[in-house]
Symmetry: C4
Subunit: 191 residues, 4 copies
């Protein structure tokens, strides 16, 4: 599902129509918002995929509710190509770029919440692999906990400045690309 959604992102890359008296090179250069949005979404979706994959490495059992919660998370993922298209088309057209950035980072905020919901359900309902040392799961819990608030910050930042909002988004993607054990050392105070 991640694989499909990520590959569909590339459908956003559309062959440009050349305007009169222009060249293909100019037309391609004029598409920079589409490339930026594609790259941003690709990297974010890829990191989400790696996180989802890692989460499932720790999960041994499943049940119907878990499957439905996972489905809700996938709902967030399937909306990413749409949010990306919106960014690609309106990033260079203020003031509508604000709405586009709100939808874009709003999608990721909701997805971050759903990641926490899914993981929390797995922890509380004892679906994890018991042979793993408990700090594996705790590290994930600690890293995920930041997601919703930080993406909410990127979401709200769009109201002030769209470039700032995008910058925060990039920073967040990199944060979630860090291994959870490193994050713990960086931000964890206690054990």
């Amino acid at each position: 599902m991640f694989a499909i959604a990520i590959t569909l992102l590339a459908l956003e890359l559309r062959v440009p129509e050349i305007e009169e008296a222009g060249t293909l090179l100019q037309a391609l250069a004029g598409q920079w918002p589409a490339y930026l949005a594609f790259l941003l979404s690709f990297v974010t979706a890829l990191i989400m995929w790696a996180n989802h994959h890692r989460m499932f490495n720790y999960i041994e059992r499943s049940n119907f509710t878990f499957m439905l919660l996972n489905g809700l998370l996938l709902l967030g993922i399937t909306v990413v190509p749409f949010a990306t298209s919106l960014m690609a088309d309106y990033l260079a057209h203020p003031p509508d770029d604000t709405i586009a950035a709100l939808v874009f980072n709003g999608t990721f905020t909701v997805t971050a919440v759903l990641f926490n919901v899914l993981w929390g359900y797995a922890v509380r309902n004892d679906l994890l692999d018991k042979r793993l040392p408990p700090e594996f799961g705790e590290n994930i819990t600690r890293q995920y906990r930041f997601g919703p608030l930080l993406y909410l910050a990127a979401f709200l930042a769009a109201l002030i400045s769209v470039p700032l909002s995008i910058l925060l988004n990039v920073g967040l993607a990199l944060f979630f690309a860090l291994p959870p054990s490193l994050v713990r050392r960086l931000v964890g105070r206690g054990n």
Copy 2:
């Protein structure tokens, strides 16, 4: 196949063209039928997926006929994105919304019938896993039996009122999201 069809649903979410003197926000708000149709289809397809998955958990053997029957069921699934597009485009344009709702719920009615055909074939041809207690299968049989009639009701309701038809559709999706053992206690008389 479910994963692909579900992800393709999101292609229906199209970046809106802004009409003169409007904003992106207004344009997005004007797309509510597309969002409603997408959500409805996503949730329904997701629940179908979970049911299909659960059904296959009980099935141990397969044969050529079973594969072809399963293929017919998948035919129903692949048509869902089209039926969703139709709803998205015509939900706000009566009287054509009736036709759109008929096609939408008609697709699910046929899919519900095909679910029963596939499951019935598996039961009659002894393709189930024998180690499972028989009531597992019986619970599924009981729950599925309601599908075609209830979706037919949602289908016919579209002739009277499109919102009623959609409401029934939502209710049905929720009904099939219930675990079969619970359904049995709710509606089962015997045993």
Copy 3:
């Protein structure tokens, strides 16, 4: 790959534009060639999928050449959605329906040839599972042998009559849906 190509077939089902003074029902009815082409392609691709799946059940080893030959077969499969679109758009517009039917059945003819090439390579290079009784493989060889010639007949029939060509296509799909052991009894003379 089959799953993706089959699901993409459904993209051909496009929400119709309503012409002036028409209803959605009329617009949908006017799309019958798209539905016919979709159904035909879906059923054919499904049966190809089942055959491909069965073929791979008998194959135990693989090598680089086999992978590339399999890739060529998949090339045939990925073209099916395009050939289907062509049929959908031109079936009701003679004389171009002849060209569309030629491309449609030509695609299947080439695919049938590639099925034979792939299977023949597996047989000659000893990639089959040795524990299977030899008549399993022989039955497949016997059934596949008919494919190219019969699809060629459907291809050539398009020059005389497009409906005849489509009818042959339907018949062929059904023929390949038969289990190989039955085909052997129907057409096999020896052993």
Copy 4:
């Protein structure tokens, strides 16, 4: 992911609009750049897929960094359908065909670099299967080493002649379709 990207290539094959006083046959013939670009991309992507598959046969362990590097490689792959569309639309429209060929071969150049980065990381970080004889890995290293330079040559050739650039691309695809052990005998000097 390869499977999806390859299947999406076929979306580039669009049913032609017939111009006035023309036939479907003429319209299809006029689409030759689309067919050429599709074939080229399909074969290249298929060979990449086979190589990626073979590479993963030798890899036994994985880690988060490896997953992200693999994701970057997949980024290259998902751009292939876009680069193909560009070729399809501008191959017959000089001077823009030069830009299209640069983007096309540039995509493959970057992908070739990423293949080397991924493989090099696996070798250096001891992710390979230790039971394999070391020359398996060395043969791959040797063959991949040529990729970036040769694709760069095809990239630069586009500045001189687009057909030459395409010819080099075809040659390169065939080169990577060769088994690594054969390549070693052809170009290797030492052991």
